[in-house]
């Protein structure tokens, strides 16, 4: 808690990262899949002398150039901007730990973009052999960037032996590394297939190429559907217990009541995974002639939904940590909890000194990384009907550290008794319904 905070109303700062990250994940997996789609398809086309397919690939390489080098790169950098504002403490840890990985990623990404540029401009100027080779380089580097980033992403959920050894490789090849990598690789293949389907719908309805392309691209989804189940089971096996508890909280009670939002989203992910397979079957695969562009867009949206929902779930099961077992979402180090719990907040949060209202400072530094007052995960709703006294009692429970019943979703609360009272006063003032006679009760 050594940094200033960034206030984002309504959606909350977490969603700023979330929105950029979901778009980035979609694009980058697209790029990884396409990295393979282009040279593999080129290989087949050359082998069977399909000049129409080669023309098509040539024509569409440009799209990937723009997608990877512009959209992928800007959203990727955007994530780092956003997380360094929202979670400066965690970002600092990531940079300190993985500076070597960043070095590798820079090199790999540079080669990826360079080979794609050569691939694009080389369609007419290079010999087929050289062009194909460049294509393989592009495929390899696109995949390698996933190999690297995946280490950092999975580290945050399962830091593994790094917690003890602080070793780079221990954190990098952490327990969820492999299942996550393989899963993402399959997702990338599927997205490449969806892209091929979408591009195919732009071709003339009766052209042979269109029908071929739709069928061919549909097949790119098959590996995912053959293996995803096993990998998911593997992944869930290595996810830490408290996270699994959060996910199965509803299921354990036999699907009763409104399952937690996490469980409900997980159900939707499962459902969409099945319906996407059926959509591809009934759409481009069985009925390629009548598969319109609008339908392809709907298919892409469904794919986007699954990607987004999965990333969101991964974020939620990491709660209340930024780096599980090491640092909470609000920048509090686990190792500091014991000694800081009941000390005056001002001593632990340097920037809080600038804020005359200690209650507001407490809220911003300890709650705002997950809650907003009136928007996403709104405290006005969670605390509705409570007065300062009752909020204070709730805060005392939160402060209990390891015994607090919310320990799997919320960090322990730092602060002396006076700080808790100040936070309670601040919250009760902020969430109070507008006084009657105000805007809310206009008569018709």
């Amino acid at each position: 808690m050594n940094y200033p905070t960034w206030t984002i109303d309504v959606i909350g700062s977490g969603w700023v990262i979330g929105l950029i990250a979901i778009i980035h994940v979609f694009i980058s997996h697209f790029a990884v899949g396409a990295g393979l789609f282009l040279p593999v398809t080129e290989y087949f086309a050359r082998k069977h002398g399909r000049t129409d397919v080669l023309d098509f690939l040539h024509h569409h390489t440009r799209f990937f150039l723009v997608l990877t080098a512009v959209a992928g790169a800007t959203t990727g950098v955007g994530i780092w901007f956003a997380i360094s504002l929202v979670q400066p403490e965690a970002t600092a840890t990531l940079i300190r730990t993985f500076v070597f990985a960043w070095g590798m990623e820079w090199v790999v990404f540079l080669v990826e973009v360079a080979s794609l540029v050569f691939y694009y401009y080389g369609w007419e100027k290079m010999s087929p052999e050289l062009h194909q080779k460049i294509g393989w380089v592009y495929a390899a580097t696109a995949f390698l960037s996933l190999v690297i980033i995946n280490g950092i992403l999975t580290f945050m959920l399962t830091p593994g032996t790094w917690l003890v050894t602080r070793s780079f490789w221990g954190g990098f090849f952490n327990p969820t590394y492999w299942p996550s990598l393989i899963m993402r690789a399959f997702v990338a293949l599927s997205l490449a297939g969806l892209w091929g389907i979408y591009q195919g719908t732009k071709l003339d309805r009766d052209s042979f190429l269109r029908i071929w392309l739709l069928r061919y691209s549909s097949r790119w989804l098959i590996p995912s559907y053959m293996f995803a189940g096993f990998i998911l089971i593997w992944y869930l096996q290595v996810v830490p217990d408290p996270s699994m508890a959060a996910m199965t909280r509803g299921i354990a009670t036999a699907g009763v009541g409104n399952l937690s939002i996490l469980t409900r989203v997980a159900m939707l992910i499962g459902l969409f995974t099945v319906t996407i397979a059926l959509l591809v079957l009934f759409g481009p695969y069985l009925n390629p002639k009548d598969f319109t562009r609008a339908k392809a867009v709907a298919l892409l949206i469904a794919g986007f939904f699954v990607t987004g929902a999965t990333e969101w779930s991964r974020e939620v099961i990491r709660k209340p940590f930024a780096i599980r077992g090491f640092m909470y979402s609000n920048g509090l180090y686990l190792q500091d909890v014991g000694k800081k719990l009941n000390t005056p907040f001002i001593e632990n949060a340097r920037w809080a000194r600038l804020n005359p209202d200690i209650g507001e400072a407490m809220f911003k530094m300890q709650c705002m990384s997950c809650h907003t007052l009136h928007g996403y995960r709104s405290l006005a709703i969670s605390l509705a009907g409570r007065d300062a006294e009752s909020i204070y009692n709730f805060l005392v429970v939160l402060q209990k550290g390891s015994e607090n019943p919310y320990r799997d979703i919320m960090p322990p609360l730092l602060g002396a008794d006076a700080d808790l009272k100040a936070l309670a006063a601040y919250l009760s003032k902020e969430i109070a319904p507008p006084p009657s006679g105000g805007a809310a009760s206009v008569k018709p």
């Binding site: 409104n258 059926l278 009934f282 009925n287 709907a298």
Partner: protein, 346 residues
């Protein structure tokens, strides 16, 4: 297996049907998208049947049991909350889909002879869908349901001449009581489905007989092609159904349908009580002018709408064709405008 089929064929000759299905062609053109709307309505209706039966297994009508059983469905029955949420969301999506379907066949002038009978059966389905919605809304017996139904029945009571009688029959007396739940339940779960399925079958049969209407402009310009219904259009239909299913499940899972506290007859109506969105236009009209005037106005407009096959028949010159199109646009703007106004004034 083969002999079994041929034995069946001797007794139940299905071959001509199969033949017909194989020959059915669906026109494809730039407005063909709207042909999906009837199918989407049908999909939501099927969802209603399945989830409705599941709810029947647990729901108990009656003043003492209605809310308690709804609460049990929400909290104790495995995935009961989900089934109830799907049933409620799908009901609303079905009304929405039917509206779009009706307006699209209106603008395509698909109500003209020989499809006028299709149009009238469709109207009957629309009316019954409203009744489904109205009767279903009361069943959980929570406070909003109670007061919204009260408002609704009072509106019906305002109908000239027969209003009072209708209201009393619906309520089973002069007040909304346990008997009202019983009657609404009988309508909702027995009477309406029976009649609805019969009329729907006729509607679908007529559609099969006459095929899809090709809009005049498209027909004249010959700007269409046809594809076989089986299997091509069927696949396309399935595709759209799956999309509709996805939308429905997102809504039902992320925004579970709420259940309010049990209705308390003695409590004053909470502020801003209002009927469901598809009655809001009418509700707004009632607020803007005296009740008999509003009812007459709405009734007259509805009647004109219903008999459009009579005042805009298919003629060689396409006479009055434009007028019908303008009427359709006016009706759409009127309904949407009144609805927005109604929500703005809550």
């Amino acid at each position: 297996m083969g002999t079994l089929l041929s034995k069946l064929e001797e007794r139940l000759p299905l071959a001509p049907l199969k033949e017909a299905a194989l020959h059915k062609q669906v026109p494809i053109h730039k407005h063909a998208f709207w042909y999906y709307m009837g199918g989407i309505s049908l999909f939501f209706f099927l969802v209603q049947m399945v989830t409705g039966v599941l709810l029947l297994f647990h729901y108990q009508p009656g003043a003492e049991t209605a809310h308690a059983s709804a609460l049990r469905i929400m909290t104790k029955v495995d995935f009961g909350w989900l089934i109830r949420s799907i049933h409620s969301w799908s009901a609303n999506l079905m009304v929405g889909a039917i509206f779009v379907h009706m307006f699209s066949v209106f603008f395509m002038k698909a109500y003209q002879k020989p499809r006028d009978l299709t149009w009238y059966t469709g109207l009957a389905l629309l009316g019954m869908t409203f009744l489904f919605g109205f009767t279903g809304y009361l069943l959980p017996w929570d406070d909003i349901a109670f007061f919204a139904t009260k408002v609704g029945v009072d509106v019906a009571a305002g109908t000239p001449v027969i209003g009072k009688e209708i209201a009393n029959i619906l309520r089973g007396g002069t007040d909304i009581t346990g008997l009202t739940i019983q009657r609404f339940f009988a309508l909702h779960a027995v009477v309406l489905p029976g009649i609805f399925i019969a009329i729907l079958s006729l509607h679908l049969l007529l559609v099969q007989i006459h095929g899809n209407k090709i809009p005049e402009g498209v027909e004249r310009a010959n700007a269409y092609r046809t594809i076989p219904f089986f299997p091509n259009f069927l696949y396309a239909d399935l595709y759209v159904w799956l999309l509709a299913f996805n939308v429905l499940s997102i809504l039902a899972a992320i925004y579970p349908w709420p259940l309010g506290p049990e209705a308390d007859i003695l409590k004053p109506a909470p502020q801003g009580i209002h009927p469901e969105w598809y009655f809001m236009a009418q509700f707004q009209l009632l607020k803007m002018m005296p009740e008999p005037v509003a009812m007459t106005l709405f009734g007259a407009a509805g009647a004109l709408w219903a008999i459009v096959p009579l005042w805009n028949p298919a003629t060689a010159t396409g006479r009055r064709g434009k007028l019908a199109t303008y009427a359709g646009i006016a009706a759409a703007i009127g309904l949407i405008g009144l609805t927005i106004l109604a929500y703005g004034k809550l």
